[in-house]
């Protein structure tokens, strides 16, 4: 059933009367500024709004309702306590510019979180202010730039990026004024060391890596890479997208990275929220400490917490948000970290790896081709439908859409770009073995269907609110806002 647009429920003169003061207020607006046109907002009752959005919510898959093995996104359980406690009235009503004397409770949480993140990453300093992974990346590369600049080392113009990297990596390098330069991957999924050596030189500002890589495997030559890059005068940037895979097992700082961003909405289980908010805290090694984005929370000798800002950190790359980033997300991450505790941190990677390797083994045994059959899975792995695509024409999209009918969210498809018709599958540590087994059964059924009735498969999904959508039309006949008159 189609759900009407909220604007279609609108009637002139209708309102949610309990929600605003009705009295007249005397305002002295200059007449030439006064608005004449409609605001374009719907006029509905409170019940209509509640009903509409409640019904819309039911048209989503989510972790709370479905297994959601979206590779590289770490869709694990978001503990409800994190939300509840971050939304205590005092936290919600705290103004970002409230004096430090009225903020010690909040600041204590932020300080503790910084300390925890330092330890789990092996870095010397942490700034919580970046508002998403991509902003964390920006901050990281900007710090690399600031570091070279501070040394007067201004000829470095390139950032090396493996071809398997997230698109944000080259985009970030560009944003920071660098030329991104691709480094190929070898057939085992590791960085091609010879190619790296050729690329390294006086122009090298640094390299952006995630480890395990987006190919789902651990970069085994990381120590060598680190040595080579440092010798060339470059710095190493760690994309924290895959931190969940190694939490408590190996620390980016110990691998030689100079700077790291963490996707707290992945590894620290804050909600993805249908596309955000994220949180991209950055950690740095000793040499980058002066350049961290502000503000950072410090502790005075009297035990009181305070903000460290431009006065304390004059070499900082500066501010990345109007206040201090996504504070409410950070509170959620903090609650999660405290509930996990020391032992829980170690278990994250262990059970994420157990689930990924188990699911990989089962799918391999069921006849699916692994992109890297000789490697351990990290917390995720890749299967490729290249063979089946050739044989019966089935695509990764077909499988993805059909999985929805089986009650599973699809894995990431067509990423990484290197592997044809691929599915990047990340089950996360919070899923039960039965959920994984159910997924395997669905995959087997779909593989069978691909052989028996490819047309049926291509028509999927059948049980969603809509069938397969026309993306081409969406881009060509752009309809990005409701215009009743145009309809």
């Amino acid at each position: 059933m189609t759900e009407s647009l909220i604007f279609e429920h609108s009637r002139s003169g209708r309102a949610a009367w309990a929600q605003f003061p009705s009295d007249g207020f005397d305002v002295d607006l200059p007449p030439e500024l006064a608005r004449q046109s409609d605001l374009g907002l719907p006029e509905v009752s409170e019940l209509q709004a509640v009903r509409h959005f409640t019904r819309l919510s039911q048209r989503n898959f989510s972790i709370d309702t479905h297994f959601y093995p979206l590779g590289s996104c770490t869709m694990k359980y978001n503990p409800r306590a994190c939300n509840r406690l971050a939304m205590l009235p005092e936290f919600l009503s705290r103004h970002p510019l409230a004096p430090v004397s009225a903020s010690q409770g909040f600041l204590a949480c932020m300080f503790d979180l910084q300390e925890i993140l330092k330890d789990v990453t092996g870095m010397r300093g942490v700034s919580l202010t970046p508002m998403a992974g991509a902003q964390g990346e920006f901050a990281g590369v900007a710090m690399i730039r600031a570091y070279h600049d501070a040394r007067g080392d201004t000829e470095r113009t390139e950032i090396l990026v493996p071809d398997a990297a997230h698109g944000t990596n080259p985009a970030t390098a560009s944003m920071c004024g660098y030329v991104p330069r691709e480094i190929p991957t070898d057939d085992q999924g590791d960085v091609d060391i010879e190619a790296l050596k050729l690329a390294l030189g006086p122009k090298t500002a640094g390299i952006m890596l995630t480890n395990p890589s987006t190919l789902g495997v651990f970069e085994r030559k990381i120590s060598e890479i680190s040595k080579l890059v440092h010798e060339a005068g470059g710095l190493l940037y760690y994309d924290g997208a895959n931190l969940n895979a190694i939490l408590g097992k190996v620390r980016p700082g110990d691998m030689g990275f100079d700077v790291i961003h963490m996707n707290l909405h992945k590894t620290f289980s804050t909600p993805h929220g249908g596309g955000g908010p994220g949180s991209g805290a950055v950690g740095v090694s000793e040499r980058l400490l002066p350049f961290m984005p502000i503000p950072v929370v410090g502790q005075g000798s009297d035990g009181a917490y305070r903000w460290l800002d431009e006065d304390d950190m004059p070499q900082s790359i500066g501010r990345l948000s109007a206040f201090m980033g996504n504070a409410g997300v950070l509170l959620r991450a903090y609650v999660y970290a405290r509930m996990l505790g020391r032992d829980g941190m170690h278990r994250v990677a262990e059970f994420a790896a157990l689930n990924a390797n188990y699911l990989m083994a089962r799918l391999r045994d069921a006849g699916f081709d692994l992109a890297f059959p000789d490697r351990r899975a990290s917390h995720e792995f890749i299967i490729t439908l290249k063979r089946q695509n050739k044989a019966v024409g089935v695509t990764a999209t077909d499988v993805a859409k059909r999985l929805l009918d089986h009650g599973f969210h699809a894995p990431t498809v067509y990423f990484p770009l290197l592997v044809p018709e691929c599915l990047l599958i990340e089950p996360t540590e919070t899923e039960s073995r039965e959920a994984l087994d159910g997924f395997v059964e669905a995959m087997i059924a779909i593989a069978r269907e691909a052989e028996d009735d490819i047309e049926q498969l291509r028509g999927a999904p059948y049980t969603m609110p809509v069938r397969r959508l026309d993306d081409v039309r969406a881009a060509r006949q752009l309809d990005v806002r409701y215009q009743p008159d145009a309809a």
Binding site: P79, Q104, A322, L469
Partner: protein, 457 residues
């Protein structure tokens, strides 16, 4: 084992299926010398009961003071329904709607959000949000540089009446891309950007002009003149607005002869609680002509195989996961949950509600100014109508007053002298619709007492 569902039997059988002797063996590709030991500085785990108590204690320590501060984050009433729906698992724990058929809820919400933001700002296209107002301004300027192909200078005229932290953020983000930010001073009486400040740059290559509405001091700039000046000088007009103010004032799409090209701002006043500064969301709208330069996600309406309407992410070719190094931005995440809140918030308030909130906030700030300037030693700095905020000059340093008020549970305002050295002893104050006459009285009385004793001392 918090959040781990595995039984011992599961572990054994799963390892057998993998063919690994132990869980440790799954990490055998990690060089042994890199492996870390126990994370000694991470505290022991707490149960939910224990962390609940700790967080309550910390929340209690900060209390719920009476806020008379705005400066970019505004305390507005948010209907209880908003966050009860936003935090439903289906919204809260979903990812970016890459599988459109299984994400129609989120996608339709964003489409409705885009429609509302286009309506409020009077422009054609909206994206699905950016991180916050400050980064939205930075992205808007990067977009202006891409869009204004005639201009080669990358020079941006930036009024000093734009929030100082916004200017700092723009500097952080844009400085690596060769943007030149040229400051325009404000008129010391009016608190707004004088015509003369712009006129100085006439005939030079200007890429874009930033027009804050209202500006950081709560004053209304000459938005029509500034928009027209920009266009007359080959620059794009970029509006930076408080969306609540738009409930009463003309839409940026209607400013001047042709309207602005890009509008952006902080979405927090539309349903996000203060929450120590985030998560909020930035918004951005633009004219149809600029749509392909718009950064961030965009949702479009299309049809499915049966011809039934449905929603999907569109124009993804602009984005980093397709264009990589050549993307319009490295932005990946938006602030989906806050957009959901804003969409529900705006639906519940509706046009009447948003107008009344704007009116009440304007009227309350005026009452606050009246109450405080009635005290000896306090005067209003800028003339003219203001929205939400006002600047007051004291006859004594304001920091000690703010600290003393804080001890009484009153957040008394934002001291301006650090970011505007010329505004010595000046305080930026704000009273939204959440403040009652009694609250304003209470503030004024406490302040009077404090000022008397400060003067006496």
């Amino acid at each position: 084992m918090p959040f781990i569902p595995h039984t011992e039997t599961d572990v054994e059988q799963m390892l057998a299926a993998i063919g690994a002797p132990s869980v440790e063996a799954l990490f055998d590709e990690i060089p042994a010398d890199l492996r870390c030991g126990r994370l000694e500085r991470v505290p022991e785990g707490m149960t939910e009961m224990e962390i609940t108590r700790l967080m309550h204690e910390r929340a209690d320590a900060d209390g719920r003071p009476l806020n008379f501060i705005g400066a970019g984050a505004y305390e507005h009433h948010v209907p209880a329904a908003v966050w009860e729906i936003v935090t439903r698992g289906e919204f809260y724990s979903a990812y970016t709607p890459y599988q459109a058929e299984a994400s129609q809820g989120t996608l339709q919400v964003i489409y409705e959000f885009q429609t509302m933001m286009c309506g409020l700002t009077g422009l054609d296209v909206s994206n699905a949000s950016l991180y916050d107002g400050a980064t939205a301004l930075a992205e808007a300027l990067l977009m202006a540089v891409r869009a204004n192909r005639k201009s080669k200078s990358r020079r941006i005229l930036m009024p000093r009446s734009v929030s100082p932290v916004y200017r700092q953020v723009v500097d952080t983000i844009c400085s690596t891309q060769g943007l030149e930010l040229v400051e325009l001073d404000y008129d010391a009486q009016a608190g707004t950007t004088p015509e003369s400040a712009l006129a100085e740059h006439a005939g030079t290559d200007v890429t874009a002009v930033v027009i804050p509405h209202p500006n950081f001091f709560g004053c209304f700039e000459a938005v029509d003149a500034m928009t027209d000046w920009a266009h007359a000088n080959g620059a794009l007009a970029v509006a930076l607005v408080n969306p609540v103010a738009l409930a009463l004032t003309r839409a940026p799409g209607e400013w001047g002869e042709r309207g602005v090209d890009i509008c952006c701002g902080e979405g927090q006043p539309l349903g996000s609680p203060l929450s120590s500064g985030g998560p909020y969301f930035g918004f951005m709208t633009c004219t149809q002509a600029l749509v392909r330069q718009l950064p961030g996600r965009i949702v479009g309406r299309t049809v499915d195989l049966d011809g039934k309407p449905g929603f999907a992410l569109t124009l993804q070719a602009r984005e980093q996961h397709i264009r990589r190094g050549k993307a319009t931005s490295n932005i990946c995440t938006n602030q989906g949950l806050l957009v959901t809140a804003a969409t529900i918030h705006m639906s519940i308030l509706g046009p009447q509600g948003l107008q009344q909130v704007a009116r009440a906030s304007m009227a309350n700030t005026r009452k606050l100014v009246a109450a405080l300037t009635a005290l000896p030693g306090i005067e209003q700095v800028f003339t003219g109508a203001g929205f939400h905020e006002a600047v007051l000059r004291f006859d004594q340093p304001v920091r000690p007053l703010i600290d003393a008020l804080g001890a009484d549970g009153i957040i008394g305002g934002y001291a301006l002298e650090r970011v505007y050295p010329e505004l010595e002893h000046c305080l930026l104050v704000c009273a939204t619709e959440t403040k009652t006459a009694a609250d304003i009285d209470h503030f004024a009385q406490r302040l009077a007492t404090l000022m008397r004793s400060a003067t006496a001392a």
